[in-house]
Structures are given as structure tokens and as C-alpha cells.
């Protein structure tokens, strides 16, 4: 037991938690934006994959890291627009379209990767974002290593949250997005085009998801390989419900899940001898299901989530 407690006392654990949380934060915020506008985006798993691939590929082909991120966001937005074509404009099933987008985007990522780099046995590498030491702060004991020695992209991921909170709750466009998810007819009756708002929200959310994927290849690791996203997208979908569709809680949820993940890696080291390691791999998921059960009971769904809005039809 004391071994377990010791884990929490190491700065390495906290630094790992923050690193693991970043793609989850970006993915969850992206999904949250889509769902707040009334569109479930199950394309997230595939969009994160293609974000990871395209950002990495941009840099591998000689591009710069930040423009690589923008490229990943752009590709993500394209797939978001594709998803909204099906779900918002044609009013098709959001589940079916989302799963389709995931399959398309994942397969396309691997296909393009193999096509551009046919003969690589060991995964090729790029030079990823480097940790920056914040002068003064990073020299602090414990906190310096845990919080103030991360890559710029890590800080960016955390900075996204307050910006999204501000936009959603303090600007006219944020109000329109939230209203589209609650009662699209109310948006229409105030002279705003629901389809435009939803399309824009899905594109923006998908861009965030793609950047979340790119975090893995451009900041956490330096290569793209198969099975990289490994269900992170689905975790984000669950985290949105856990967070009751609120961005602040989404940040907490992502940190909680990341903390459990960082803990299980370390717990394997001291208990791996007598407990199979698969048990530890399972832990974050089991605990997040438990947390979901507790939190989701109080969750307040956007009322119009999953309901397509068709203009000019008989009401």
C-alpha cells in the first residue's frame, strides 16, 4: 500500500499525468463542441488517427511543427465537414455516419502512410516538440518537474479549455452553438441558420480532435504507428458524458483518467510479479466506468442531441 502512496509523491507521476491528459483534453473538448451543437461525432477515433498521421507527415516532409499542427487541424475540419454533410445537411443517422467516418479516416491514414513511405521497417522519426523550461518556475523542486517542464503543445492543450469556455458562454456565437443543441427551432426563429452553426461547430470540434491526435506523434512520441490512438477517441466520447457537457469538468475528467493511466503503469512495476499486467491495463477503464455511472445520472443532455434539423418541413 505504501508503494501505491509513493507513486503520488513522485514528480514523474504528475508530469506523466499531464502528458497523457493532453490528447484526451483536446479530443474531449472537440467532441463537446460538436455535441453542444447537437451533433454526436463518433468519427473522433478516426479523426484523431488522421490528425496524428497528417501532422506527423507534414513535419516528416520538411514542414515546420506549428504549421504541421495547423495542417492536422485543417484535415480534421475537412472530415468534420464531411460528417456534417451527412448528419446536418442530409439528416442521416449520426451514429452510422460517425462510425463510417472513423473507419474511413483510420484506413485512409494507414493507406496514405504506407503509400508515402512504402519501405520502412522501423518507424521513421521526426524531431518533435521539445520540453521548454520556464525560467524560474521550472527550477522549483517537485512542481518544476511536474508542471513547468513540458512541451509548448502541452501548455497549448491546457490553454484551449479557458478559451473554449469563454467562447461558449460569453460570446454570441457560443450562445448560438448551445442553443442549436437545445432547440434548433429557436435558433431558426431568431434568424440564424442552424445548418451553418452546426457545420461550423462540427468542423471546429473535429479540428480540435485532429490536433489531439497530432499531440501523440508530435509531442508525446516522434513516430506514427498502427493502433496509435488505441481507443482514446472513445474515451473522449465517454468523458463528455462524464463532464455533463461542461468544458471545465471535461478537463478534470481527462486529468482523472490520465492519472489512473499513469498510476497503472507504475503499479505494474511493484505488483506486476503477482498480478497479471492486463489487470492494470484494465484499471483506468473500469474506474472510468464506475465514475461514469456516478456522474452520468446527473448529466444534463443537450436536448436536441442526435435530432436532425430539417428546414422548411412540416412541424
Amino acid at each position: 500500500m505504501s508503494d501505491l502512496l509513493e507513486i503520488f509523491l513522485t514528480a514523474g507521476f504528475w508530469a506523466a499525468t499531464i502528458r497523457i491528459a493532453c490528447p484526451l483534453i483536446l479530443g474531449t473538448i472537440g467532441e463537446l463542441i460538436c455535441e453542444r451543437a447537437g451533433v454526436l461525432n463518433l468519427g473522433i477515433e478516426g479523426i484523431m488517427t488522421i490528425g496524428a498521421m497528417s501532422g506527423w507527415m507534414w513535419v516528416y516532409q520538411g514542414g515546420d511543427l506549428w504549421t504541421g499542427l495547423m495542417f492536422a487541424a485543417f484535415i480534421g475540419a475537412l472530415f468534420g465537414i464531411l460528417h456534417s454533410m451527412f448528419t446536418v445537411h442530409l439528416g442521416l443517422s449520426q451514429h452510422v455516419s460517425g462510425i463510417g467516418i472513423t473507419m474511413l479516416a483510420s484506413s485512409l491514414s494507414f493507406f496514405v502512410f504506407r503509400m508515402m513511405l512504402p519501405s520502412s521497417t522501423t518507424p521513421p522519426k521526426i524531431v518533435p516538440f521539445k520540453p521548454i523550461n520556464i525560467p524560474g518556475l521550472s527550477d522549483m523542486p517537485f512542481l518544476g518537474e511536474a508542471i513547468f517542464s513540458h512541451t509548448p503543445m502541452t501548455y497549448f492543450s491546457f490553454a484551449v479549455v479557458p478559451v473554449v469556455i469563454y467562447v461558449l458562454y460569453r460570446t454570441p456565437v457560443g450562445l448560438a452553438v448551445r442553443m442549436s443543441g437545445e432547440n434548433p427551432m429557436a435558433v431558426e426563429a431568431q434568424g440564424i441558420n442552424v445548418l451553418t452553426i452546426r457545420t461550423a461547430a462540427v468542423a471546429t470540434g473535429s479540428a480540435f480532435m485532429a490536433v489531439g491526435g497530432a499531440y501523440l506523434t508530435m509531442s508525446a512520441f516522434d513516430a506514427f504507428y498502427f493502433g496509435m490512438i488505441n481507443g482514446r477517441g472513445w474515451i473522449c466520447v465517454a468523458l463528455v458524458i462524464f463532464a455533463s457537457w461542461r468544458p471545465g469538468k471535461a478537463l478534470l475528467g481527462a486529468l482523472l483518467f490520465a492519472g489512473l493511466d499513469a498510476m497503472q503503469v507504475r503499479a505494474q512495476q511493484f505488483a506486476g510479479g503477482f498480478i497479471p499486467y492486463q489487470f492494470f491495463l484494465m484499471l483506468p477503464y473500469v474506474l472510468s466506468i464506475a465514475a461514469m455511472i456516478v456522474m452520468a445520472r446527473r448529466a444534463r443532455y443537450p436536448k436536441a442531441l442526435l435530432i436532425p434539423f430539417r428546414r422548411g418541413e412540416r412541424i
Binding site: 460569453r170 460570446t171 454570441p172 456565437v173 450562445l175 448560438a176 448551445r178 442553443m179 437545445e182 432547440n183 427551432m185 429557436a186 435558433v187 431558426e188 426563429a189 431568431q190 434568424g191 440564424i192 444534463r300 443537450p302 436536448k303 428546414r311 422548411g312 412540416r314 412541424i315
Partner: protein, 513 residues
């Protein structure tokens, strides 16, 4: 001065012509009533005006300039505001948020809530409307929601206000308040289009009436030259006869609810909070109340769909132990469900299959043990279809293709052929045209003559006063004692519907047996 001119608007949905070459004008400071039955095309016409729909033909001038079709923002900018029948509000957002949406450019980086609140308060004071900007829409009453809808239009500077069936959800007192507000608006030079099918309201508020029937404009009359009967005739297209109600001596109780409590969900108030009602033979009891006060729970209870948490239900003197629809049907309970599409019929099954569904287990419909006797079933349905005048091309067509009136006749036929001792008629004429309404009412009165007790649940007080012997008011799961129809007025019932059930105590308790 003419502020609005609709010229030759035509709109079809598939093969249905909802609006056929309709023209009308609206003058400044005028209340124009648009009268018509359900499905006459009133809402379609105004949805075209407000830009929800695009007309197939015709054009609309507002303040002398042509309105671009199919754009709600264009209509709003031109000074048109609409109060929708189904409020276009988001429950989880505040009143203020609902109102300011769309008033500032979407590219703006800040929502000026302080300024918006000040403007809103000033407007509310100007028109004498009470509004709490910071409350969630989910937490305010239906009357307040309607004020928010109206405020939304005024906030955008509407000079022409369209109200689509605004009184459908209000108590009579709230209707009076609404009319005071509307008169204040007209006094300030606003023009109003008021949609309704309630004649007395139209006579009370409007200056001029346009009548729609089956998508066509069939007449226009100044309100001062009109009366109830002439308007009804214009709306329906023929003379309307009211059903003859004969008073009958009530017999033995057919159903008795004794202090019934039906629990709400976890953390909610009970849906029925100690309800006691007795309904006798030869008696129609009307249940009045604003929607959502426990009528659905009471309907479910009397259909055997819900078990009370405490209290008793007695059918013809026997206490019910088995709360299941099957047991209730066997004991002679007939049900006309609130939502005929969802609960009354199985839309994709044929008319005859729906017709036999309550008599499924009865002998003549079976042969060789447990196999359907198709000939017997069709014969059974054919008789009922004839007897109850259900108009369908063939009884093999899916029930969902029936019109509302014929679907309701199917349900009546199925229910009444079992000669129930008690009939639960939950909103039996909602959405029907006058002809079908008369047919349904006549059947209910015939059942009463034959000895059935009826509980008539309705939001339309005129219907209750026309048919019922007694009226019971339901509010937040509590019911008033039964009141004889002769003793009370619509105003009394209205006061009770708004929550003051004790108002009924000053009247004699009718049939307090």
C-alpha cells in the same frame, strides 16, 4: 395604412395543397384574426410569412417592400415577429439568453448582457409584462414562457406580431392578461395577426376576421358584424349543430378512486397526490386542468398501465388487485388514449388488425385452437366499420393512413363494441375537424345514455361545459371536489386551474355521495 400584403400565396406538401392562392392585408394598429379548423392552413401561411417555409407561388410585401422568401432573418429585419404555437425556447438556457440570441453579430467577441438586460427591463415595463431575465426557461410557467416569446419579438423591434394559437396553453385568466398586453401593443401602433379556432376569443380581441378552410380563403368579415354562429358556419362550411345533452339520474358508481397516490420519479413530487374521484352510471365527469398537472398519470392509472403507490381503485364495487391493461379491459374499462398515433393504433398494421386488437382472445375470432380465423375477423371489423362510419378505402390499408377523425372512430368502435361500463376519454377530439368532433361527442353521449360512466379529459373548457355533468379540476396532482356544471362558470374553473382548488369549496359539492 397597410403594413402587410400577402399576394396569391400557394404552398403544397406532396399532394396536399396547404395554401391555395391566399391573399390578405393587414393595417396598422389592427388585430386581424385568422380563423380556421385544424389543418386549414393557418400555420402554414404564417410560417411562409416568417420565412420558415418557401411558398411555391405568390409574394409578400411588408411595409411596401417585398420580403425575400425563406429567410427568417429577412422577416425579422423587416419588422415581423412570431410567437410560435410550440414555443421556440431552449429550456436549459436563461430567459435573457433566449431573447438576445441573434441580436448581436456572431463575429462579436463579447455578449453585452448588462445592456441587454437593461433594454429588456425597459421593454417589459413599457408593455406591463413581468419577466425575470436570469431564470432558466425550464423553471418558469407556461404563461411566462409565452411572455418570453412575445418579448423576443419586441426585442427585435417587431412592428407586426403573429400569434399562432396563443391561448391553447393558457388558463382563462392568463388569456385575459394576454389580451390586455395585446391591446397595449395595438395602442402603440403595432399590428397583430391572431390565429385561433376559438370563436369567443376571436370575437373578443380582433377587429377583422379572415376565414380559411381547406387551404382556401373563404371569407372576410369585420368582427363587429360577426357572431359566433356566423363565424362557425364560415369556418366549417355548413351549419353546426351542437349535441343535445340530456340530464340523467346518475346510477351506481362504476369507478371509485380512493385517495390514490402515484409516485413521481426519484426526487420528483407525486404525479397524483391523494386523488379521490367517483364516477357513476349515466354520468360524464369532465377533468379540467392545464396540461401536465397529472392528467397523463391518471389516464395511465385508469388504463391499467400504472400501479398506484397507495390508495384504492374500485371498479363496480370490486377493489382492483391486478393492475394490467388486460384486467381492466376484462372488467369493462374502455380507453380512448391521449395520443392516438402512439397508443391508440399500431400504424403499420391494417385497419382490421387494429380493430380486433381488444378482442384478440375471444372465441369467435379463433378456430382450430389458437389460429386466427381471418374470415371471422374481417366480418367482425366490417360490421364495426359500417356501424361507426369509419371511412377507409379498404380494411387492408395500414391504420396510419386514416385521417385523424377516422382513426378516432376506429378506436371508438373497438372500445365501444365491448359495451364498457366506464370510458376514459382522454382528449378525444384533439386535432379533429368539426364533423368528426360531433361524431365523437355523439358516441360518448350515446354511451352515457346506455349506462356507461365517462371521464372526459380535455383542455378545452367549452367542450367540458358542453358535455359534462360534473367537472373536476386537477392541479399538481391534486383534484377538486366535483362541481355541477350548472353551478360554476368558466372563470371559476380557470381560477382553480391556476392552482386555487379551494375556490371550488364555496359551491355545493355535487353528488357528494
Amino acid at each position: 395604412m397597410m403594413v402587410l400584403h400577402i399576394k396569391g400565396v400557394t404552398k403544397s406538401f406532396g399532394s396536399l395543397v396547404a395554401n391555395d392562392n391566399i391573399s390578405l392585408t393587414l393595417n396598422e394598429g389592427e388585430v386581424l384574426a385568422l380563423l380556421g379548423e385544424n389543418g386549414a392552413g393557418k400555420t402554414t401561411l404564417l410560417n411562409i410569412l416568417f420565412g420558415h417555409y418557401v411558398a411555391d407561388e405568390g409574394e409578400i410585401d411588408v411595409f411596401g417592400t417585398q420580403l425575400s422568401p425563406g429567410a427568417t432573418d429577412a422577416a425579422i429585419d423587416a419588422g415581423v415577429g412570431m410567437v410560435h404555437q410550440h414555443f421556440t425556447l431552449a429550456d436549459n438556457l436563461s430567459v435573457l439568453e433566449n431573447i438576445v440570441l441573434g441580436t448581436e453579430p456572431l463575429t462579436s467577441w463579447k455578449l453585452d448582457t448588462a445592456q441587454a438586460k437593461a433594454k429588456l427591463t425597459a421593454l417589459a415595463n413599457e408593455f406591463g409584462m413581468h419577466i425575470e431575465p436570469d431564470k432558466l426557461v425550464a423553471d418558469i410557467s407556461v404563461g411566462e414562457r409565452q411572455r418570453v416569446e412575445i418579448m423576443k419579438a419586441l426585442y427585435r423591434g417587431a412592428r407586426i406580431l403573429i400569434l399562432d394559437e396563443p391561448t391553447a396553453v393558457l388558463t382563462p385568466q392568463e388569456v385575459d392578461n394576454l389580451f390586455i398586453t395585446l391591446r397595449a401593443m395595438v395602442a402603440k401602433g403595432l399590428s397583430i395577426i391572431f390565429i385561433s379556432h376559438k370563436l369567443h376569443e376571436i370575437l373578443a380581441i380582433s377587429d377583422r376576421v379572415n376565414v380559411l378552410r381547406r387551404g382556401c380563403m373563404v371569407g372576410e368579415i369585420a368582427t363587429k358584424d360577426a357572431d359566433r354562429d356566423s363565424l362557425a358556419e364560415m369556418m366549417v362550411g355548413r351549419e353546426v349543430s351542437r349535441p343535445e345533452v340530456e340530464h340523467m339520474e346518475a346510477g351506481a358508481p362504476v369507478i371509485e378512486l380512493g385517495n390514490v397516490i402515484v409516485a413521481g420519479g426519484r426526487g420528483h413530487k407525486p404525479l397524483l397526490n391523494g386523488v379521490s374521484i367517483t364516477i357513476h352510471k349515466h354520468e360524464i365527469v369532465g377533468l379540467a386542468g392545464v396540461a401536465g398537472n397529472g392528467q397523463s398519470a391518471l389516464g395511465d392509472l385508469l388504463s391499467g398501465l400504472r400501479t398506484p403507490s397507495s390508495g384504492t381503485v374500485c371498479i363496480a364495487g370490486d377493489t382492483v388487485v391486478d393492475y394490467s391493461p388486460r384486467a381492466f379491459i376484462t372488467k369493462g374499462i374502455g380507453r380512448i388514449p391521449e395520443d392516438r398515433h402512439a397508443r391508440g393504433v399500431v400504424g403499420d398494421m391494417t385497419v382490421w388488425e387494429n380493430m380486433i386488437s381488444e378482442n384478440l382472445r375471444e372465441k369467435p375470432l379463433w378456430r382450430f385452437g389458437r389460429l386466427i380465423d381471418f374470415d371471422a375477423c374481417r366480418e367482425f371489423s366490417r360490421n364495426l366499420i359500417e356501424q361507426f362510419d369509419v371511412r377507409c378505402k379498404t380494411m387492408e390499408m395500414p391504420a396510419k393512413q386514416l385521417s385523424g377523425g377516422n382513426m378516432q372512430k376506429l378506436i371508438l368502435a373497438r372500445t365501444l363494441q365491448n359495451e364498457p361500463r366506464f370510458i376514459l376519454a382522454n382528449q378525444p377530439v384533439r386535432g379533429l375537424d368539426e364533423g368528426a368532433i360531433a361524431a365523437v361527442h355523439e358516441r360518448l353521449l350515446a354511451a352515457k345514455r346506455a349506462g356507461a360512466g365517462v371521464l372526459l379529459v380535455s383542455e378545452d373548457l367549452d367542450e367540458l361545459f358542453a358535455l359534462a355533468d360534473k367537472i373536476v379540476v386537477i392541479y399538481h396532482g391534486n383534484v377538486s371536489p366535483p362541481l355541477s356544471v350548472g353551478d360554476v362558470t368558466v372563470q371559476d374553473i380557470g381560477i382553480m386551474m391556476a392552482g386555487d382548488l379551494s375556490h371550488g369549496e364555496k359551491f355545493d359539492r355535487a353528488g357528494a355521495a
